[in-house]
């Protein structure tokens, strides 16, 4: 195995993720390879530098604020089964209403069939006939009045 092959195993070695045979092979490679040794030293140095950095402590109210936030979230979201059920009922009612409105808005008005057309036509005719009758009755009254005046 050449150094570039071992280079890909350095991280796994430091993470103690190499199997026993691979670990032994890598450790036997190390004394003769300055590149691998330097890489491991650099990694260790970097870890030590970061290890020396002070951890950032959270503010004293951090945990209390978190649980308050959890409580707010739980209040905002319905969790009990009856709350979910009432939400479901509302959603169902809303959905039904939307379907009815959509049908009324988007469905074409139903066109009358031939029998209905005939009935409508006959109703119109009947109204015309009534109008004509009315005129006839009016004419008749005029005639009668005229006849009456002549008789008088």
């Amino acid at each position: 195995m050449s150094c570039p092959d071992y280079a890909s195993e350095r991280g796994a070695y430091l993470d103690a993720e190499l199997g026993p045979a691979a670990r032994e092979a890598f450790e036997s490679h190390l004394p003769g390879c300055s590149e691998c040794r330097a890489a491991l030293e650099a990694e260790s140095w970097l870890a030590a530098q970061f290890g020396a950095l002070p951890a950032v402590e959270p503010s004293p109210q951090f945990e209390a604020r978190f649980w308050a936030r959890v409580a707010r979230d739980q209040e905002a979201a319905p969790s009990a089964w009856w709350q979910r059920l009432s939400s479901l009922r509302l959603a169902t009612a809303g959905g039904s209403l939307a379907v009815v409105v959509a049908i009324l808005l988007f469905s074409e008005p139903r066109r009358p069939d031939s029998d209905e057309w005939a009935m409508i036509a006959s109703e119109d005719t009947f109204e015309l006939m009534l109008d004509e009758d009315h005129e006839l009755l009016f004419d008749l009254e005029v005639l009668e009045a005229w006849d009456g005046s002549r008789e008088g």
Binding site: G11, E17, V56, P58, F62
Partner: protein, 162 residues
């Protein structure tokens, strides 16, 4: 996390106390505003809390947690960059401090300050990968899972970061 999933709230509280400091530390090094870093840490824990029913143990808990934190931090930074660009125009790269570079006898505090300054100058993904590796001890595979990259991409990120 599995105990919490089974209804043991105490198990979540134990995770919360164990990982609060590493999580806040990671986010405070990623995001310049300390208060905002704490808010993001709370957001991470809230997401974990709310995901208990869907949780599947595909990775270590810390890998999963840092993955959420990494994504939230990058989103936060992207938003901040956009706002800054809209307000000021393109960002100007910070200039290295020559006095700091010339000083060979640095005490531990100064060294820590320099390291933190150097961190702020790294691109966000490199900084995140380096922090996860060097400060929080994640393996290349775990970093890959956390940041959604292949192991070779993580190695490349870390190589450039160093």
């Amino acid at each position: 996390m599995l105990a919490f999933q089974a209804g043991d709230r105490g198990a979540f509280e134990a995770l919360f106390r164990r990982y609060t400091a590493p999580l806040v530390t990671f986010l405070a090094r990623m995001v310049p505003d300390r208060g905002r870093a704490e808010e993001l840490a709370q957001e991470v824990f809230l997401r974990i809390y709310n995901a208990r029913e869907r949780y599947e143990p595909r990775a270590r808990f810390s890998t999963w947690m840092f993955g959420i934190a990494h994504n939230l931090a990058l989103n936060e930074l992207a938003l901040a960059y956009r706002k800054r660009e809209q307000a000021l125009g393109p960002e100007v790269a910070p200039v290295a401090d020559p006095a700091a570079a010339a000083d060979d006898q640095l005490d531990a505090k100064r060294a820590a300050e320099r390291l933190q300054l150097a961190l702020t100058r790294l691109p966000d993904r490199q900084r995140s990968a380096l922090l996860l590796r060097a400060e929080h001890g994640l393996s290349y595979e775990e970093i890959g899972e956390a940041v959604g990259s292949s192991v070779s991409s993580v190695k490349s990120l870390l190589h450039r970061a160093r």
